[in-house]
């Protein structure tokens, strides 16, 4: 078994243990497991949110904007000046991406553990049987009860409305992803702010991409997306950093640029 398989197997065992404890309800198990992983990665998320905000504030800093203009044609000098400002302000430009890098395998393993646990094909059922530790009575757990509310978690979700199959969960996934992205993106006063432009682009592409995943993959994954998004919004709100105005039309007005720091 490869190290990655072992990592996913660990997730599968925790997920199935929760499933067993909560009375063999896989939807509830996914929600609780998502909450658990969010709690474990809370410091990383908090660190990422903090670092993103610091980097965003820096983009609006007058001194930062000045060196962009002054050394626009001298990339080496510009980089030196940027590094100087990072040092002076105690900013680590990698600090915002490091927590993301650490979280990505967790998200990926969570996705794989959900699909592996649902075991919709003989091959995935075989993989599942080999992922489970002896402390779980796997014989009694199989087949997993994939029914949750109106959904079959092993199938993409649709609700028939007037003869049309409406993908309600995919819409909720796209909506909550959009809200989370908008809330966590501070407005920028700098028209040349590349990170702000990237954030604007992300606020459109991420909801579409995750919505598409929810539309085509088993709905158990969509339950994870929605839970994760809602927890992300809650965490940001608890840290007092949610920009609720940005959800309103025209609410993304730029903030006042931060004052330059004393040298």
């Amino acid at each position: 078994m490869s190290p990655w398989d072992l990592f996913v197997s660990l997730f599968v065992n925790v997920l199935l243990w929760i499933y067993d404890v909560v009375g063999q309800n896989f939807g509830l198990a996914i929600i609780l497991f998502t909450i658990l992983t969010r709690i474990v990665t809370w410091p990383l998320n908090a660190s990422q949110m903090k670092s993103t905000k610091v980097m965003q504030d820096l983009q609006n800093d007058k001194e930062w904007q000045d060196i962009q203009k002054k050394y626009a044609k001298d990339r080496e000098k510009l980089a030196q000046e940027q590094m100087r400002i990072y040092r002076e302000r105690g900013v680590n430009p990698f600090a915002s991406c490091l927590p993301t890098l650490i979280q990505l395998p967790i998200i990926f393993a969570l996705y794989q553990s959900i699909t592996r646990s649902l075991a919709t094909t003989p091959l995935s059922l075989l993989q599942l049987t080999r992922s489970i530790s002896s402390f779980l009575d796997v014989s009694s757990l199989i087949p997993l009860n994939s029914k949750f509310l109106w959904m079959d978690l092993g199938q993409p979700e649709f609700v028939p409305v007037f003869g049309f199959n409406l993908p309600t969960l995919a819409i909720v996934v796209a909506l909550t992803t959009y809200i989370q992205t908008k809330l966590t993106t501070p407005p920028s006063s700098n028209p040349n702010d590349q990170s702000a432009a990237m954030a604007r682009s992300m606020s459109l592409t991420m909801p579409l991409m995750l919505g598409w995943f929810a539309l085509t993959f088993p709905s158990g994954l969509a339950v994870y997306f929605v839970t994760s998004n809602l927890l992300g919004i809650a965490q940001y709100a608890m840290m007092g950093k949610a920009n609720w105005r940005s959800l309103l039309p025209g609410g993304s007005k730029p903030v006042t640029p931060a004052k330059p720091s004393k040298k």
Binding site: W4, A79, Q80, M83, L98, L104, Q112, P122
Partner: protein
């Protein structure tokens, strides 16, 4: 000279740990998603002229004489259709195929031409199980928990006669004793369905999920392997478990009954033979790997295959001997076609291999473009 400003390089040195971590995680990702994994292993069946191999987006008809492709269905891959269950032949020259993809199509194609004859798209789940054909009726279990029954006498494309909800994912091909249709489910139950009334005559609780087809004998005994690590014998006249024999591992494939002996393998890599009273018939044999597929009888030999890619043959109660070891994993039950033994390796060099009864390779099949 470097293409990067010195300050950037210094910064990179300062953050060596971060970069190392990023690379390590990148390698982890590549190991996780670099190799696309097939959704499952192939399904296999054979007539007197051709083998029918269901693997991924295509079902291939392969000439038994020389292993040449006769046709493939569909001609162009449809992203919604994935075929893995064993195809089944009807008496009137149709091949029945069930899709396990997002398109839940049950399709009957002409065995000669590969052209679609009729199809059914009303199921909500995948067709993991092969259907059972009895006279002109087709009994097709689906993972949505329904048994769909088609009547080939019905004119036109809509051949659905009736359907019956049995609950639990249905993964196993049904069996019959002429009176009832026996359907096992992953939710640990055996259902006896009365085809005359279209209702469940009786249901029995098993000790685990049963993904394999039961074996039924003329004396009214039914034998089924389960994930409860056992072989269970059901006395259908009493509608009760007659005996239950523990196995070391889960039993995936259905047992094979030849004369008075029952042959079955388990996931721990054991091959058993029992008599109809549940007493061992000969020594328990340990081949080179787990056994998922049902055994096959051809001539005087009982053939079984292991996950490690070895084909074994047992004869006259002697210890099984290895006939051939091939590249790939053998999860699909071997199929007899005349004097040939057909095996379909999963993730191997060939999709289909024909062996004679001494284990000598007759031909191999790999699809062209």
């Amino acid at each position: 000279m470097t293409p990067f400003p010195r300050s950037v390089i210094n910064s990179m040195k300062a953050n060596r740990f971060v970069l190392f971590l990023a690379l390590a995680l990148g390698a982890l990702f590549l190991s996780a998603c670099g190799t696309p994994v097939s959704a499952s292993w192939p399904g296999l069946a054979a007539s007197e002229e051709a083998a029918y191999l269901a693997t991924g987006p295509y079902v291939y008809a392969v000439r038994l004489e020389d292993g040449e492709e006769l046709w493939r269905f569909p001609e162009k891959a449809d992203g919604k259709l994935q075929f893995y269950s064993n195809p089944v032949l009807t008496n009137d020259g149709l091949v029945l195929l069930g899709s396990s993809g997002t398109g839940h199509n049950f399709i009957a194609v002409d065995a000669e031409t590969g052209n679609e004859d009729w199809s059914f798209t009303g199921a909500q789940g995948a067709w993991q199980a092969s259907p059972l054909v009895v006279d002109n009726f087709i009994y097709a279990p689906n993972t949505d928990g329904f048994l769909y029954v088609f009547d080939l006498n019905i004119e036109g494309d809509d051949k659905l006669a009736w359907s019956l909800e049995l609950d639990g994912p249905l993964w196993a091909m049904p069996a019959t004793d002429g009176q009832y249709i026996y359907v096992t489910s992953l939710d640990h139950r055996l259902h006896a369905v009365d085809p005359q009334t279209g209702s469940v005559a009786w249901t029995l609780e098993l000790d685990g999920a049963a993904p394999g087809t039961p074996a039924v004998d003329a004396d009214g005994m039914l034998f089924v392997g389960t994930f409860g690590k056992s072989i269970q014998a059901v006395d259908t006249s009493r509608r009760a478990i007659a005996w239950s024999i523990p196995t070391e591992g889960w039993v995936w494939g259905g047992p094979l009954r030849v004369d008075d002996v029952l042959y079955v393998g388990d996931l721990e890599g054991n091959f058993y033979s029992f008599n109809s009273s549940g007493k061992p018939d000969g020594e328990q044999f340990q081949p080179d790997g787990p056994i998922l597929a049902s055994p096959l009888v051809i001539g005087e030999q009982v053939i079984f295959v292991t996950e490690n890619g070895t084909v074994y043959a047992a004869e006259n109660g002697t210890d099984p001997k290895s006939l051939e070891k091939m590249e790939g994993k053998l999860y699909t039950a071997p199929v007899a076609a005349g004097d040939l033994i057909l095996v379909a390796p999963f993730q191997g060099e060939f999709l289909l291999v024909a062996l004679d009864q001494q284990g000598k390779q007759a031909w191999t099949f790999t699809p062209g473009n």
